[in-house]
Symmetry: C2
Subunit: 141 residues, 2 copies
Amino acid sequence: MIKSGKRSSSAVEDYLERIQELIDSKGYARVVDIALSLGISQASVTNMVKRLDAEGFVKHERYRGLILTDEGRAIARAVIDRHRILTEFLRLLGISESEVERDVEGMEHHLSSSSLGAIESLCRELTSNRELLQKVRSGMK
Amino acid sequence: MIKSGKRSSSAVEDYLERIQELIDSKGYARVVDIALSLGISQASVTNMVKRLDAEGFVKHERYRGLILTDEGRAIARAVIDRHRILTEFLRLLGISESEVERDVEGMEHHLSSSSLGAIESLCRELTSNRELLQKVRSGMK
DNA sequence: TAAAGAAATTAGCCAAGGCTAATTTTTATG
DNA sequence: CATAAAAATTAGCCTTGGCTAATTTCTTTA
Ligand SMILES: [Mn+2]
Ligand SMILES: [Mn+2]
Ligand SMILES: [Mn+2]
Ligand SMILES: [Mn+2]
């Protein structure tokens, strides 16, 4: 029996995604780093961390550190995956880096795993078939 | 000189999209119809209509009707376009209708026109090349 | 080891976008 | 044309997720 897990908001997903990325790259995620890298205030991060703890996505010790629960990590990994695939997809299509970032950061919260799988398959095809890729790229206004 | 027009929220875009669709299909958009078809209360619609009027997206006469301004119509048309292309794209990939609807309704607010053009081109290619489409579809888990 | 500085938290505020209940206005109908 | 029903609005509430300013706790350093 798998617990269903209610849909997380885009904001919650962005926090979990960034927390996991910080842990992957520096080994820990401090409030100040989360704030800096998401471009929001430390106070806002403290509030959200309290919420993420209450909802069981992180374990938080006041004035100390922060770790992800299994559930929080699962959500973070899923978001990071969607981010990665969507980025690969739009880059393949020749979209400018700044537009890729903006589009992906929004779309990553609205992609079912079916759609993700389909786009993944499409990326594989576009990568292995450069002629196709050229054709698609040349068909854009 | 083209007025830049600040980014509209997803909620604003959903309202304008639906208002335009109602006008296209029945000739007018009443508060009660907007509420019914978006699945929200009439009171919430009245509030938003007031906001859309204040921001110049619709012209509203109290207890009377509602029309879109040029700016409102332009936004509505753009959202409807993104909705249509994304729907075509995910359907081509074989995603179930209910997932298509959910994904599209969210993603349509986060797609630059570059990305839209690229996906449009991709749809043309997938439509005219059934062998490619089969290959992509069979590559999905 | 006492300050100073950095990090975290709290308090209090705001806007967006929902809701229900009550009221007002318009429309339809006997 | 009076009244009932439908539509629209208002009033008042709530949650989410931001903000700044003030305060508290931890860490570094002279
Ligand atoms: Mn995001
Ligand atoms: Mn992301
Ligand atoms: Mn939508
Ligand atoms: Mn739509």
